[in-house]
Symmetry: D2
Subunit: 391 residues, 4 copies
Amino acid sequence: MTPRGRHFFANPGPTNIPDSVLQAIAHHTVDFNGPDFLEIYDACIAGLKRVLRTKQHLFMYTGSGHAAWEATLANLFSPGDRILVIETGHFSESWGSMARDLGLQVQSLPADWRRGVDYGALSAALADDRAHAIKAIGAVHNETSTGMTLDLPRIRAALDAAGHPALLMADTISSLGSIDFRMDEWGVDAAVGGSQKGLMLPVGFSFTGVSEKAMAAHAKSTLPKHYFGWTQMLARRHRSFIGTVPIALFYGLRESLRLIEEEGLENILARHHRLAEAVRRCVRHWSGNNGPQLFGLAPERLSDSVTSILMPEGHDAESLRRRVATMNVALGGGLGRLGGKVFRIGHLGDLNEPMVLGTLGATEIGLKLEGIPHAAGGVDAAMAYLAETAP
Amino acid sequence: MTPRGRHFFANPGPTNIPDSVLQAIAHHTVDFNGPDFLEIYDACIAGLKRVLRTKQHLFMYTGSGHAAWEATLANLFSPGDRILVIETGHFSESWGSMARDLGLQVQSLPADWRRGVDYGALSAALADDRAHAIKAIGAVHNETSTGMTLDLPRIRAALDAAGHPALLMADTISSLGSIDFRMDEWGVDAAVGGSQKGLMLPVGFSFTGVSEKAMAAHAKSTLPKHYFGWTQMLARRHRSFIGTVPIALFYGLRESLRLIEEEGLENILARHHRLAEAVRRCVRHWSGNNGPQLFGLAPERLSDSVTSILMPEGHDAESLRRRVATMNVALGGGLGRLGGKVFRIGHLGDLNEPMVLGTLGATEIGLKLEGIPHAAGGVDAAMAYLAETAP
Amino acid sequence: MTPRGRHFFANPGPTNIPDSVLQAIAHHTVDFNGPDFLEIYDACIAGLKRVLRTKQHLFMYTGSGHAAWEATLANLFSPGDRILVIETGHFSESWGSMARDLGLQVQSLPADWRRGVDYGALSAALADDRAHAIKAIGAVHNETSTGMTLDLPRIRAALDAAGHPALLMADTISSLGSIDFRMDEWGVDAAVGGSQKGLMLPVGFSFTGVSEKAMAAHAKSTLPKHYFGWTQMLARRHRSFIGTVPIALFYGLRESLRLIEEEGLENILARHHRLAEAVRRCVRHWSGNNGPQLFGLAPERLSDSVTSILMPEGHDAESLRRRVATMNVALGGGLGRLGGKVFRIGHLGDLNEPMVLGTLGATEIGLKLEGIPHAAGGVDAAMAYLAETAP
Amino acid sequence: MTPRGRHFFANPGPTNIPDSVLQAIAHHTVDFNGPDFLEIYDACIAGLKRVLRTKQHLFMYTGSGHAAWEATLANLFSPGDRILVIETGHFSESWGSMARDLGLQVQSLPADWRRGVDYGALSAALADDRAHAIKAIGAVHNETSTGMTLDLPRIRAALDAAGHPALLMADTISSLGSIDFRMDEWGVDAAVGGSQKGLMLPVGFSFTGVSEKAMAAHAKSTLPKHYFGWTQMLARRHRSFIGTVPIALFYGLRESLRLIEEEGLENILARHHRLAEAVRRCVRHWSGNNGPQLFGLAPERLSDSVTSILMPEGHDAESLRRRVATMNVALGGGLGRLGGKVFRIGHLGDLNEPMVLGTLGATEIGLKLEGIPHAAGGVDAAMAYLAETAP
């Protein structure tokens, strides 16, 4: 049966889409080489660069976030090159796995998923690499499987302190437009992002912001590529996209950029932080009575776009998710090795207080109905925080 | 600025519209006399009769709910005819005022708005009318200004007991599809409804379900009419609507009837009752500490489609509404003499648990921020009830 | 089966709706008394007055065009008042019939439907009415059943020349936004219009532009009214609409006004004239070999929003319409006494050259397939004209 | 300025999208791992296999048509492998170029673009390859730059006759759902397709139908891959897509498959042929007086989804396209070396008679206005053919 009422999509990936963006996407087809579309296209490229906070290069792909990962690797490296991937969770593992499939050597910097990496260990690894075999560091800015972030300026500082020439690659898929990110200021060489998170669009395009330094690396890269090839793209009018441009998504992007610029990036980040903190207050409250707790143990690293919540021992996150789904609320599940142990609440994109409270309320009802231990009153804690911090 | 996140429309009139109905309405224009449309039209008429629970007559108008009121009066009566309007609140007053403007005599059966009519007084009024001057009783089934209902079978019984031939006219605008209503079984002679409430459509069409007995009265009616004229309508293929048919709304109605029949009227009524009761549990909790309280004082008469909430003395409902609006939640205001004293929460149509909890949560935050006395924890009370009664 | 390809709606009533307007209408519900909506509302009222070219009064109704007719009559007259209706075709007959139903005396000024009224006869009728019993003249500006227009300034001049105080009421339903109309400049006292033609919206609201002189007449009017009552409306914030405002249509109207003002009324009228003339060139060509011919015989009176086409004797317009419908093109049928004898091509609203050519092309194929005599090459004649007059 | 009237998108790539598909795509986000979505997903996979006429394997990618090309190459081959690409036009060149970029050896079988390949030369090339160095033949089923098709069964027969084990790869991007294609029956080993043509969807996903024989080749392939990796995909629940699934497009695909199955593939192909032939009749007529002519010179190879039209010497196709664009009709331009010399009319997907006639009509007007020699009356020729062949 068609569920009644609005769907509450609180799954951290992809994200809910504003009605005006949905309507913008439902656009009849036009000539993607025609002057009317090109005007929109060029304005979108400029707007997306402003969101990335870069004045350098931007390459776009029809593809999901993983496409942009692969494009970035294929354009920067040659077979056998070594990259250092900082372990953060499921997505750092995926990135490593992809790089190996493409013929790269992957050095993993291990980390406890709940506490996050030891930045000292990163400095040590860089110091150890006297030969500069490490061509790049891969850092997942916001790891949606754990709800933890990496401190990119600190990684930049470690590279600088070590005088290490490795490129800094950041996965901003679930941070861009939700969590502060500044490509040029932070010295990020390759910033990987996608349409389906903070840009509030469906899955469909992804992109890499590319520094001049990375462009120099690209010139020497020999991994085979064409669909993702930056050099091939530079020969085209659109300077991105091999083949047909995803026209409809640009109408959507124009609208989402309008929404973003209307609200202002600073205000958007503040809104995300406030709503995220409301979720955390709720979960911290629930954690009494041996209830579900925040997966992340390092408070300063907790994500403002997604919260991972660890179930009490012996309780299945999937049962809870199914129960909450009967109230038309979609929570995220645990990814990879966290399957069944963790559930996740996405709080990014087009979100406001009642959406968060409705999601938390349904979840608290679900905890009760599933007989999962918890301290009741989490929603109250969230409400108290929201009242205290009302604009 | 465009508000962020989904709008929570908790204003009892009109109501939120499901996405699939919105899309259905966004239909290109077609010939309303063509065979493809007529097939849809006829199916909608049949479906709407099932919702009204009638096998008698149905006349539809391009117009709002007030249009159907006026149509009903104009088609049933002659200048100087007397009708008895049961006082329920703002809308019974409006109905009376309209009838007077049309040249009818209006006898009001007075009632306390918070307690509702004394059915004994109704029986007494009927008994008093030995000459049967009263041609009809006008009863607002669900008074959205007060959040109170009338017991239509009891009114029918009073008529029958008195052996009084007056027609029974019911305003089902805010009850149909949300609160149990059975036109034929309950002996209602004229049932007035509109598109914009339980049918989950925009404002645009309204209608009267008409009994055979009422059709006989119509035959003698001399009030001038044409646009609303039932006799004129019977001469047309559509047997409703003078002039162009509101085509787009029929595509919407087809979808809303599909949703209604998919869920089933019994299930819809049960859902409305449960969500309404959750709202009432919340408000009853808030009423501690001299907080806002249920406007209606007769528990068995409280509406399952809207709750009216009386502000504590000295506090302005409009300030609260403005505050809650900053969280993208629209509460209803007090109507007529209740302006500023009452706010209302609509809970009808396409609604689920998190929508209700989000609305109540934002409202409780608003109470706090506006310094309005209340017992915190209303949302918890609602959640507890929803957990207890989970399907 | 769902027909393939875009529907060509060439039926003069209602009209095709631009995609952007359809999307605008598919808007979630908002509080029609809230400040955000009221800002849109007020801007729409101002914009609609600019389209009507009036600075006087405007009253709006949830209803179809007939609702605005009835509202206009009910607000201006008292039982037994006489109005003079200029015969133009099906819609002047309908207007007369409505007026009689409301208790007015209707004096018809007869006219040949194919040639249009003799303006001299109008002057004579006014001169005859020395007692000024005629309270108003009812003139259908553009008669969609015949595809003929009335010269409103000439009617105004006849009134002035006769020194006759009758009000001038104009039905602009199918002319406004398509054919030049200037309420204030032309001395029109009541201009009746609707959403579903030149405003490119669905059926849903209609309105009357009202002069100061007509407001004075309104003050003395005793016909019963409430839903349509101007005085009742003036007591409301919206100064129009009794009951719920048709919210969604205002989002649509905002967009259609944006389109209208972007193109400019003068350009819109020129576009309509050019596309209408292309249709006429086509029909005139077809009329060779005893083919279908223009219904209207007075070239200077032919409508720029709809063309009525008379079938050759012995051929059924409905067969042709059914045939053309198999190509997903909806032609208009003959109304009233013209049923079966006439078909109509609407060419108003959101229209361009290929839409007209596609419609004419399918119609010419239909003529051939149905064995209806005609001179082939009508589409060529239309194309030649469009080429000559290309901007 | 917003152009008036419906946009006529007659550019062969991508294609126009039915309103119901556009609406389906404008769907709120859901969990792509949740049971409700998976049910839709699985049904779509099954439906897409029916369109491909295969019971073998299907792998899908978030990406454009070029992504599916690259995926197919990367999954089937190892560095240095040789493939034989049959020259057809711009897209066979692109395919070759991509293959070279990926490290393959590309042997081109040259052909005159206007006449198409000599199948005898193909047999000769296969016979020459006694060592079976050619691992696969790449055949563009429908070359949209030239409007010419390849006879895939004949290519299959040439392989069989030669006893050559090369795989047969077919690019069906602009043929699938428009021109007869039967993967299993015709022994195609890899069928590359995309969302944006006969499936009537926006650009967004592409896919490869894969035979058992090709799966065996895949097992030995060593080209690096991950995002496009079939083996990686088989480890996932969706058995396609690395990363997030393009959710919205599946709602669209469900609707487009519904439309396709409602009409029936046979009827769809017949409709395409008829409308394509109408375009050809028109162009053949124009070609009198040294007018524009069909680019393709082999009648039996002309495409039913797109027609390429060669401008008369000394006339610029781009001027014509700009002129026709003023009537809101988008023609396709010449690709690659055909730029300026050719324009193209797409006639695939959701199309009917008046859409074709409107497009041809605007084009004929454009020819006249641009002073391009042609025999007037092309639209008449198209109409005559459509009348003769009316269902």
